[in-house]
Amino acid sequence: MRSLLSFLKKEYMETVRTGKLIILILLFMLFGIMNPATAKMTPWMMEMLSDTMAESGLIVTNIQVDAMTSWIQFFKNIPIALIAFMLIFSDIFTKEYKSGTLLLILTKGLSRYKVVLAKTVLLLSFWTLGYGLCFAITYGYNAYYWDNSIADNLFYSMAVWWLFGIWVISLIILFSSLLQNNTGVILCVGASVLLAYLLSIIPKAKVYSPAVLMDTNSLLIGMEGINAYIKAVIVAAAMCIVCVAVSIPIINKKQL
């Protein structure tokens, strides 16, 4: 247990000292501010564009913005934040294989599964922190300018999208245990998400695809309840556990 905690401490130290934490905080803060800011600026932008739009026959009438506009922006922007998060951390394993830093630590007697666990905990905690920060900032501004109660199932929506992030992280871990370089990891995670998306197009398979977790609009406007997502949630959660569990024997057999 002590060796796991020490390695975990090293992981946090790395994130702080290599500047990744600062980038992460700034990134999620920026995204958090952008959502209400975009909503707030929409009427003004429409007004600016109204002349041009009038020429093409579109007439801009009074634009109504509220917390919902901001929340829809939030769920539109968060995939970009997740992609940035993946790019920042895609080399979390592969960098150690390439440089040989892991080799020395393993020869000191650290069990390989602890490496997987420590890195998983780090990724989960920073995703939760970043995502939570982004959400809290948007929530705060929305509460100040408008009223958050307009959005139905807000916390469900938040949790569902958070789980999607966790699902992506578990894919990062799985592909990192299989591959040697981070470009491969990024491509494979991207391909998996695409596959899940394609699956969600098929009507019968849709409810099981983790890609459904990205589409929270119907949940927000109250068109659908959490029940519509339950199967996808179970599939995604099970896949997370399986991915991490499978990574351990793969890493155990990896020649370093």
């Binding site: 002590r2 060796s3 905690l5 020490s6 390695f7 401490k9 090293k10 130290m13 790395e14 000292r17 290599t18 440089s99 040989g100 830093t101 080799l103 020395l104 630590i105 393993l106 020869t107 000191k108 007697g109 650290l110 069990s111 390989r112 155990n252 057999k253 020649q255 370093l256």
Partner: protein, 298 residues
């Protein structure tokens, strides 16, 4: 007792057989030189000992315990220094040793005491900088400190001196010599002067097998003398010598080198005695490890 025994170790990478039935035993408290050309399989052998690489067949025992690939239990007896050690560059040496100590299960006070002691020993005691700014020699010395942290029975160093300047090499060799009291040292190299300087035993690795092993003296004795140097006292008297014995080669004014059988050498001696040729010195040319290595790996 043997700290390390390797029996019939085999490993191939694709169609290339790197190790073909390697047998090796390293006794306690010696400095064992593991010598081979580049690509001979030294690193492969060492990684197999550390359980980092899966051998195709063969057995490895460290302190009598079998080494299993992927599981690193036997590594608690081993300290390892790779050829180019890589550390977490954002840490200070002290922080790095702390991490190593905690990972290997040492208790806190031991880690602090031992880290300080080792950093002093390798000359990094006052170093407060992060590892990022370290030179290659400094990294190599930190590598030795981390390898010795948990007081290993066996210290494995993979070409520790290959990439260093003469001063850096001397520092590393001195540290390894000092370590001999605490641990058995197995170090791979292709620098034979390093082996002659510090090793008590050595083995030549060639074509994936041990071509020769033993103490340095034993290995030298396995090969007969490389010949003799005969130096006469005055110039002139030796002219007759070279006329009679055509195989003598003039090295300098009155110095000759002789390569040939003992019988022929005694004939030269007899001639010298009979003709009363004044002699300055007669010296047997000792075989060097280098000539031995070249002969074995031919």
């Amino acid at each position: 007792m043997d700290v390390l025994t390797i029996q019939n170790l085999r490993k191939n990478f694709g169609s290339k057989d790197v190790l073909c039935g390697l047998d090796l035993s390293v006794p306690e408290h010696c400095i064992f030189g593991f010598i081979g050309r580049n690509g001979a399989g030294k690193t492969t052998t060492m990684k197999a000992v550390l359980g980092l690489l899966k051998p195709d067949s063969g057995q490895i025992h460290v302190m009598g315990e079998k080494v299993h690939f992927g599981q690193t239990r036997t590594n608690r007896y081993i300290g390892y220094l790779p050829d180019v050690p890589e550390f977490y560059s954002y840490m200070t040496p002290f922080e790095y040793l702390n991490l190593c100590g905690a990972v290997s299960g040492m208790n806190k006070s031991d880690i602090v005491a031992r880290s300080k002691e080792l950093l002093d020993q390798v000359g990094l005691g006052g170093e407060r900088r992060r590892i990022k700014g370290f030179s290659r020699g400094m990294k190599q010395r930190l590598g030795i400190a981390q390898a010795l942290l948990n007081q290993p029975k066996l210290l494995i160093c993979d070409e520790p001196t290959s990439a260093l300047d003469p001063a850096g090499r001397k520092e590393i060799l001195d540290i390894l010599l000092a370590v001999r009291e605490q641990a058995t040292v197995l170090f791979s190299t292709h620098i034979l002067s390093d082996v002659e300087r510090i090793c008590t035993k050595a083995a030549f690795l060639n074509d994936g097998k041990i071509a020769m092993q033993g103490t340095i003296a034993e290995m030298r004795n396995k090969r007969s003398s490389d010949g003799f140097i005969i130096e006469t006292e005055q110039q002139g008297t030796d002219d007759t010598l070279i006329k009679v014995f055509g195989e003598l080669k003039r090295k300098s004014q009155n110095t000759f080198v002789f390569h040939g059988g003992e019988e022929r050498f005694f004939a030269i001696m007899q001639y010298i005695v009979e003709n009363k040729i004044p002699i300055q010195r007669i010296e047997r040319i000792e075989p060097t490890l280098e000539s031995l290595f070249l002969e074995v790996t031919k």
